[in-house]
Symmetry: C2
Subunit: 191 residues, 2 copies
DNA sequence: GTCTATACGGCGATAGAC
DNA sequence: GTCTATCGCCGTATAGAC
């Protein structure tokens, strides 16, 4: 199956993006070279340019990957019966990554912070990594009947998760994020 | 006054560090070159190496500068009569920087996150940028009589500030940090 | 589509005159 | 202590054979 070039090409492109995402998360995008990405994905350096015209394009692909990651999670959460369960599932998703967060920070938050310090064209849209999930949270709170306060509550939840992620990273202690996650889930449950 | 070399040297060194700190805050340390720092401080490139053996040493100086910045704030806060006022002064310090935070994030938090992704030797001690202030907060809460919960309360405060800073950056809206700061000060006041 | 070889520029770092 | 000139490496990007 799928012996055609397009499929092979897509597979390689995906491997390149995966490698770039992993490396950008581990060591920051700025410090990630094309040689790093080529090595990690097993693609020869020169071939990278068949899939991406410039390094900047790879950065854009990394950003898109992370955005898509939330979009997919959002679809999974949509299957859950209540807004509270959906919100708690989001918290669980973050908490489930606690070990990584303690070493490399929140995948969305750290990428967002890094890209927003880059020249305008490149940074464009990086803020969405955190604001789009927050807007989704607000929708859930609306569904819970908190019309006027929905965006405040969403801000509070996303702030709590991001703050906890930052402190988890600085203290290098996953338990911290786990604990804050439990607290936030309790808060959601009690609303 | 101060015609001797040592003083001139110290002045130049300080200008170099100031430039490095500003550039690392604005565009990240990874993307900051020695040429950038030399240009911004008005020191010729070759002369930079009289003050710093390696680029890594400049990174260490930037980290030290930020650590010292808190140490100095801590001394100022010590003059305030009550723990609550000291804690609120800390919040005010962060909120007072809201316009910068909206563009470049928390000076401590973003540097901490960036350095902690670097090789071990370099990252060593970057976590202190957030954990040392948190430990100071805990001392204030102890003084308020919250012995057993002091570190939880400190974590909550620092988490709130860092989370608010991250969301302020991603939304590029200073008002967000101002609002969260007011909320946190109200919480402190009511303890 | 794939991969090797290489051009080109920029960056960290050094040499050495002043 | 100060500064110019420059070296060598590495990173992005391209040329061109297969």
């Amino acid at each position: 199956m799928a012996k055609d070039g397009k499929t092979a090409a897509r597979g390689k492109r995906e491997r390149l993006v995966s490698a770039a995402v992993a490396l950008a998360y581990r060591q920051g995008f700025a410090r990630t070279t094309l040689a790093d990405i080529a090595a990690e994905s097993g693609v020869p350096l020169g071939n990278v340019y068949y899939y991406f015209k410039t390094r900047e394009d790879i950065g854009a692909a990394v950003l898109d990957y992370r955005k898509d990651q939330f979009a997919q999670a959002r679809e999974r959460f949509a299957a859950l019966p209540s807004p509270k369960e959906r919100l708690k599932a989001f918290v669980d998703m973050t908490v489930g990554n606690a070990d990584n967060v303690a070493q490399k920070g929140c995948p969305m938050g750290t990428l967002c912070a890094e890209l927003l310090k880059m020249p305008d064209a490149f940074a464009e849209g990086a803020g969405a990594l955190l604001t789009v999930p927050m807007a989704w949270m607000a929708e859930q709170f609306v569904e819970l009947g908190y019309d006027s306060e929905a965006s405040d509550l969403a801000l509070k939840l996303q702030t709590g998760l991001q703050g906890a992620s930052m402190m988890t990273l600085s203290a290098r202690d996953p338990a911290l994020l786990v604990r804050e996650g439990e607290r936030l889930k309790g808060w959601i449950e009690g609303l």
